[in-house]
Symmetry: C2
Subunit: 632 residues, 2 copies
């Protein structure tokens, strides 16, 4: 396949017409062979893709990692038959693979695209995410890589109803991303019937233009119009993203289904497929290549990955000083940014609260303000990770719930992104429950292959932020609003998956487990218990996932099975669940567990009042420990 001719100019339009027919035929064949898939949603966009791949997408198909390659993202991920048919047409997937592997178990041609395929940047299939991810890639291209590649995103018309599409266009125009091109396949039909606005292209045009895009309306089946639109879109003459609105017909090319309801997500039965292929002129097995990117410079014109930018010493916090973990996050991020020029930060208009502003002030070229658009915040991080940057995205932990679908999809994208959520729990005080993250640990633990960290002091925060930079997958740091005493000397190690036993003695009668603010409460509780002659073991469970099962099991054995877990989180899915899961999976042990968590709806108040009301302060932890010892 490496010997396939690849021109600088691409194929001509008559060849593109042949290619389009092949893409339709192969979309039909592959989905019928699989007995599943979306042929009609593929057929509407086949002309668009034929012209794009044949004449405009600058891509070295033999080197998907080539820095200068354009990016092609199928935001309408259900059109995977079309995407995989493109891969066949350029010769990187065989007809046999397409016909026998699509949607099959263990195969890389999954129902919706994932980066299991080397030409796929991000997983799609949850609509309204490909374009936001593309904004992240385009940010990298314009501001960091400083390479002339374009990001082409194929969108469906149904997904224009997702707010995330408009967050994406807003940021694309704010950041003047002329390298971003959204191609909207307006085929009028959704899953269950007509879309909201059907073929009202002018309406979409007004919206996209109002959101700052250059808009081109075309007939999505007129190859010359398509060709002209793509040439215009990539001309770099306006400091705007381009949105191409293509009027298309769902099922185009097969008269039995064209523009008909009831054919979304349905493969044709074999006899129908045969008629479709015949109407489309039969099978073809063209191999075509479009233009290649200009040779990438030896040395990337953007960031130099070898040269540290300045010298920001890691903060060293004296034990006992009061430091908020969110402040330590900002300090650590700034120090990391100095060491590693691929570290990039983003925030959702609260950087003076999350302390991402420390990084922003030092490294403004590597900081992207996302304003109050948490979905785009996470999507931008995913897009930056596509280009091998090391993104850290922060907002209030409560507001990361806004982006849960994006975080879930980031895991499916095998994306390494780092999230920092500040202002966790009732500890924030007067602002009340809308600002209190009380579900975030549950949410983040449930993400595939995630890392969930919850430090209690400045020293451990600094160490964990540094560890996150090298972590694969989605990692999450939960930080606290208030300042609490530094517990650890600078230089102490905090391996992910570890914990710290802060108090222990041969006479420990009970184990107190906390993280974040509740660790400080647990330490105070241990002091109170000691006054009453009860020795308590205290564990800092800073690594919630993975969890240090061994230390927990040891503590159970050492303290006669008496455990108190306290967390500033709802009782489900957080620290207590992590401990319960770990212990039950570790095999049978006699465990008397008291789980203190936020069980009632909090209101406003001081942190002290709210911790007490939730029953997770030192007094409640100590009382729970005494009760355990009295009643077991």
């Amino acid at each position: 396949m490496g010997s396939t001719p690849q021109s600088l100019t691409g194929i001509d339009l008559s060849a593109a017409a042949e290619l389009a027919a092949q893409l339709r035929v192969d979309s039909v064949r592959s989905s019928t062979s699989a007995g599943s898939g979306h042929p009609t949603s593929s057929m509407s966009a086949a002309d668009l893709l034929a012209v794009l791949v044949g004449r405009h997408l600058r891509y070295d198909w033999d080197n998907p990692g080539e820095a200068g390659n354009d990016h092609l993202i199928f935001s309408k991920g259900h059109a995977s038959p079309l995407l995989y048919s493109v891969y066949k047409a350029v010769g990187v997937v065989s007809d046999e693979e397409l016909m026998t592997q699509y949607r099959r178990f263990g195969a890389r041609l999954e129902g919706h695209p994932t980066p299991e395929l080397p030409w796929v940047d991000v997983a799609t299939g949850s609509l309204g995410q490909g374009l936001p991810d593309g904004v992240g890639v385009a940010l990298a291209g314009k501001y960091l890589d400083r390479l002339p590649y374009h990001v082409w995103v194929l969108c469906g018309d149904s997904e224009m109803a997702e707010g995330s599409i408009w967050e994406a266009l807003d940021k694309a125009s704010f950041y003047e991303l002329s390298n971003l091109i959204a191609i909207v396949d307006v085929n009028r039909l959704g899953q269950r019937g007509p879309t909201e606005w059907e073929w009202d292209l002018d309406r979409y045009a007004r919206r996209a233009a109002a959101f700052g895009a250059r808009v081109l309306e075309i007939d999505g089946h007129d190859l010359a119009e398509i060709d002209q639109a793509f040439a215009t879109a990539a001309d770099g003459t306006v400091p705007q993203p381009t949105v191409i609105l293509a009027r298309t017909i769902k099922g185009r090319g097969f008269s039995e289904v064209e523009d008909k309801e009831g054919w979304h997500g349905k493969p044709f039965p074999p006899d129908m497929a045969a008629r479709a292929v015949a109407e489309l002129g039969g099978e073809r097995h063209l191999t075509v290549r479009g233009p290649r990117p200009d040779p990438a410079p030896d040395h990337q014109p953007g960031l130099d990955p070898t040269a540290p930018e300045g010298d920001v010493p890691s903060a060293r916090y004296p034990v006992g000083d009061k430091v908020a973990t969110r402040k330590a996050y900002g300090d650590a991020l700034a120090a990391l940014g100095a060491d590693n020029p691929r570290v990039v930060a983003l925030d959702g208009e609260v950087s003076n609260s999350t302390h991402a502003d420390e990084f922003a002030h030092l490294f403004p070229d590597r900081y992207f303000e996302m304003y109050i658009a948490e979905q785009q915040l996470v999507a931008s991080a995913v897009g930056l990770a596509v280009r091998h940057y090391t993104p850290f995205a922060s907002t209030f932990a409560a507001f990361l719930t806004r982006a849960y679908d994006f975080i879930r999809m980031a895991a499916i994208s095998r994306s390494s992104i780092r999230l920092s959520g500040s202002h966790a729990g009732v500890e924030i005080g007067a602002d009340g429950p809308s600002q209190m993250a009380l579900e975030d640990l549950a949410m983040m633990r449930a993400v595939h292959d995630s890392t969930v960290l919850y430090p209690s002091d400045g020293t451990s925060t600094a160490a964990l932020v540094r560890a996150m930079a090298g972590r694969v997958g989605v990692s999450y740091l939960r930080t606290t609003r208030g300042a609490y005493p530094v517990l650890y000397e600078a230089g102490e190690k905090f391996p992910i998956g570890g914990s710290k036993v802060l108090r222990s003695s041969p006479d420990d009668a009970v184990t107190l487990i906390g993280a974040g603010v509740t660790l400080h409460e647990a330490l105070a509780a241990a002091d109170q218990l000691a006054e009453g002659g009860i020795q308590a073991r205290v564990i800092d469970l800073y690594s919630v996932k993975p969890i240090d099962t061994e230390t927990l099991v040891t503590a159970v054995a050492a303290t006669n099975g008496c455990l108190v877990v306290a967390e500033d989180h709802h009782p489900e899915g957080g620290l207590g669940s992590a401990v319960a899961d770990a212990l039950l999976n570790a095999g049978p042990q006699k465990v008397w567990l008291t789980h203190l968590a936020v069980r009632e709806m909090p209101g406003s108040g001081t942190p002290e009042e709210l911790l007490a009301a939730a029953g997770i302060d030192a007094a409640h932890i100590a009382a729970a420990a005494r009760d355990l010892l009295n009643t077991r």
Copy 2:
């Protein structure tokens, strides 16, 4: 307070000017007294609120439940000092309460508004949610209540960056909600500095107009302009929502802070507050009332809550027939809709998959298509619940993650909404991981006071859907794509918080716990084990939250502590965690637990292949049981 004069026309503009000054003064006083809050964000909108409350908002303050009342929603919930100052001005909150209770522990004047106050419809404070919620209220007003009230929503300019705002305007124009008025307080400054588009009102205007709104641009400090805009907005002459873009100055009225950065979310120190109050002309204690609503008709012109609409018999599924629980959801919803005219359904453009279409076909007047906009899907449900409807909102369970912030806030709103998520887990097969809900149980369990149900057959689904209708709070039903045998006779009871022991004998050696598809796998595993002479108890844990701890504890005792839990969900926060939490909280027991869950990233395949690959099918359950018995 009931004797306060209340006119039909409201106060004049000079009185409104006095009222505006009072609102500013009280915003300053209350936040300074609390030592926390957002005075400057309140001051920018004080003129808007003075004119609104004094002359346009038709509201019987002594009867917040009056059906004809307008609705006032602070989407910018951080301007709570302004809202509470309004409550003082109309005489429903005393100056003493405002000055001593704001943001205090246990008080109803929380940092951000919640329905703990009878005049608050929905909790706000997570930006970009009040307007979407208002769309739901306006849908109820226009299509269900058929009452002439208006829904006035005060928005901030920062929150215009949230995609959910555009989902809301899109649906408001689609449904021609002329009863919805968004007032955008464009004060140019966000939390950490200038907003994205500062005072570029024309840009906001183009966007709102493109999204179908009538747009009025005004000086937000010119009372006559405000008055005219409100009169126009409420005139009902156009079939569109109205967006009023008000150019305002943050901190307006106090020259030391006007339009200055660094004053977001900061109360003034007492000396500054004294200067602010002086500059604003000193304290005032006016009590004013604006216009009242027209007397509501004795009989609501919309739905008749006493008359069933038609007769849709509950489906009765013969035991052994194969029925998908998503299909049973649709059947049950339709039957419920016939019995109870306050039941309303919504879906996110997948009603032919979730089977909400069965309701839509029978009761089109009570069905709202939200297209692919899951945030607005949930927000509409919240808004409909404000008007005492019984909403059921459905989409693929995976895509409810898109709305997690809205679900979390629904709990803070004390909203009773019902969510149905279909296509749970790897069981869906070929579509791949983007469409598989594998985090939803964790997410929904962590919501305060939530109910989480996961039926395995048609009969239990029908019973649980009916139970959900009467449930307070956020309730969630997880349904499965494929059809599986009916297990229960029609008429069997399924109390929330219960479970079913489907197999048991005095000789049970192991307990198998499942729900949804894994219950069927557990039953097959029990058959396999029985062939080898091992008796297994099988529990249908259809109520994941609340959970039937008693049955679990009994099973642990009866089967020597040997449990196998299998779930089609990631291992964190779902069925296994619910069992672990319940058992550990129930006190010490010897438990040998094997937890089977989806631990690797799935791809495409058949349901059987994917259940086997995840290790949650009958063969793996049986093997896990044998291993447990061999090794314990």
